[in-house]
């Protein structure tokens, strides 16, 4: 598929966030690709736009009790509970391992206090590797009581936290927003005001499933996070709302399985996308999707993937109505 024209990849799949260039607009989402080692046998990692690592906190977290996952119509519920190795093992083992790959790494951070967020970020910053592009701040995990959702549902705290973390790094600072709010616009605005380089959305929707014979919740934590194709329409609407509210780049997430799905997000206004649940079914989804996007650009005669971004045509009378 990929042809070279004077060394140039054609069509050109490269995108930038601020001064950072990514090979393709397709990242793998936090918590759905481990730390690279697990999936490498099934996915050519260097063909990915980049890897967003599993949320890391200051101390290791063992995660929630079984059951942690339930399949639902067109999606799944999870309640992993931010199981992670903790930032010290992360910088000792995971980050150096990820450094070997010629692709960008974005470290996703989850915490329960401003200080913890800052400490984790600064600890990674102090042990950073060359291909570490920046940080994604998870203020939207619905599955642990202290998973930062208290930040994710408060505009003020979102702004404070973003401003605080901005002081600690010049790398990309990406705020990951939750869809579980009445309106995502004020959060997008807050992140932009406080100096975030980009926002990413959506994290999972709060959901639930019942074992009707046992009359018990199927997840040990009662509720969990819904992801997968089922949530794609909601994710697109949230990205659309955020796009109108802020002017920093958006990373679209939610239910992306095919190249067509990813292209929908770009057209609505996302500069990049993340692929999550699809990795569980197709560990090389992130690569396949980028290849499919390239084929689409070819067939439509589009030279640069950037031309798709925010290219949605909305009829004038509707824009007048404020849509």
């Amino acid at each position: 598929m990929t042809q070279t024209q004077n060394g140039q990849r054609f069509p050109d799949m490269k995108v930038r966030l601020r001064d950072v260039e990514f090979k393709t607009p397709v990242l793998v989402a936090s918590g759905t690709f481990g730390y690279g080692a697990e999936a490498r046998n099934y996915c050519d990692i260097e063909q990915l736009g980049g890897i967003v690592t599993k949320s890391v906190s200051w101390k290791p977290r063992v995660g929630n009790h079984p059951h942690r996952i339930v399949e639902t119509a067109g999606g799944m519920l999870n309640s992993i509970g931010l199981a992670n190795v903790g930032v010290h093992t992360f910088v000792k083992e995971k980050l150096p391992y990820l450094a070997q790959f010629d692709t960008k790494i974005i470290a996703n951070i989850a915490a329960s206090s401003m200080e913890e967020y800052r400490d984790v970020l600064e600890h990674i910053e102090a042990h950073s590797v060359e291909n570490l592009a920046g940080y994604e701040i998870n203020i939207s995990c619905p599955n642990v009581k202290d998973g930062g959702l208290s930040f994710g549902t408060s505009v003020e705290r979102t702004e404070e936290l973003t401003a605080l973390l901005r002081q600690s790094t010049d790398r990309l600072l990406i705020i990951k927003l939750t869809p579980n709010v009445t309106s995502v616009a004020p959060f997008a605005e807050a992140a932009e005001r406080a100096g975030a380089d980009a926002i990413s959305l959506i994290n999972t929707l709060v959901g639930m499933s019942i074992d009707i014979r046992a009359r018990e919740p199927r997840l040990s934590t009662v509720t969990g996070g819904l992801s997968g194709p089922a949530v794609k329409p909601v994710a697109l609407a949230k990205v659309y709302e955020a796009r109108k509210a802020c002017s920093i780049p958006i990373i679209g997430i939610g239910g992306i399985v095919t190249a067509e799905d990813a292209i929908e997000f770009l057209i609505v206004g996302a500069t990049m996308v993340q692929v999550g649940t699809a990795n569980f079914v197709y560990p090389d989804a992130g690569v396949r999707i980028a290849e499919g996007m390239e084929r689409f650009l070819h067939s439509e005669g589009i030279a640069n993937v950037g031309e798709l971004i925010h290219s949605l045509r909305v009829r004038a009378e509707l824009r007048a109505l404020g849509w």
Binding site: G31, T32, F33, G34, E38, A39, R40, N41, Y42, C43, D44, I45, V62, G63, H65, P66, H67, R68, I69, V70, E71, A73, G74, G75, M76, N78, I80, A83, G228, P229, V257, T277, N279, F280, V281, P283, D284
Partner: protein, 267 residues
């Protein structure tokens, strides 16, 4: 790691389908990697219907048999995914990921007689285990329980002791109580139990092994989203001793299992 070392070829054609009993079928498919690399106890993760979202997730299946470039699984139609798979026809394509997980520890020096304790479709990993044990020249006793006579899949097993809930074949009762009598009569020379079946049966085996102080390995079935260690969705709880020793509260069944030593896990 270069593309060529990678397992990207997942599509494999179904070469043989056999219906052992209503809703119980074996599917043989061409998959050189799975056929040549699988060790007894490992599994594959199979997509019920490629390209469609109902169901969306793969389903894990122990590898039942391998020969040349072909591998076989045995499928019990149960829910949405397995009923679709059970209806697969010869010539259809399957999307198969594997081999996954760790093999049975059949070469551990801690036993003389291998006792295969099987409940229902738990038989899936036992023919390959039997083949491996024979290469190790270990004596084998197979204690196999099923709801009824028609539900046994006996190929590739040795020295069978059957038990049925309805008494339609062999011992009338549970395979575990049959095993208990054998143990009490001391008929098994320094045995090790290899157990796979319904959770209730596996718990009973766990207790029995502890009571008689014999090594016991149990193969677990948990929900799995990925089967390759990236979703963290398949934990089993470790017992206190193991927890204190290893600091691990959970083990991932897909990566560290599916089989575990009975005393290190809580069912």
């Amino acid at each position: 790691m270069s593309r060529s070392d990678m397992d990207t070829s997942r599509l494999s054609i179904v070469t043989r389908r056999r219906e052992l009993a209503p809703g119980l079928v074996t599917l043989r498919f061409r998959h050189p990697k799975v056929a040549r690399e699988t060790m007894a106890g490992q599994f594959v993760n199979v997509l019920p219907k490629a390209g469609f979202l109902d169901p969306m997730l793969r389903r894990p299946f122990s590898v039942y048999w391998t020969e040349g470039d072909e591998a076989e699984i045995i499928v019990q139609a149960h829910g949405r995914g397995t009923s679709i798979l059970a209806a697969t026809q010869e010539g259809d394509l399957l999307d198969v990921l594997g081999p996954l997980g760790r093999p049975w520890k059949y070469d551990s020096g801690d036993f003389e007689t291998a006792v295969l304790l099987i409940g229902g479709v738990g038989v899936a990993s036992m023919p390959l285990l039997t083949r491996a044990l024979e290469l190790e020249e270990k004596p084998i006793q197979t204690i196999y329980g099923a709801r009824s006579k028609s539900l046994f899949a006996l190929e590739g097993l040795r020295n069978l002791h059957l038990a049925t809930d309805d008494g339609s074949e062999g011992y009338h009762g549970s395979n575990v109580s049959l095993l208990r009598t054998y143990l009490e009569e001391g008929r098994l020379l320094s045995p090790k139990l290899f157990v796979c079946g319904p959770t209730g049966m596996m718990r009973a085996a766990q207790t029995l092994a502890a009571e008689f102080g014999i090594p016991c390995e149990i193969s677990l079935e948990t929900e799995m989203a990925c089967g390759i260690g990236i979703c963290q969705g398949c934990p089993v709880v470790t017992d206190e001793k193991t927890f204190l020793a290893t600091g691990k509260r959970f083990r991932l069944v897909c990566m560290e299992g599916p089989s575990f030593s009975a005393e290190e896990i809580i069912l």
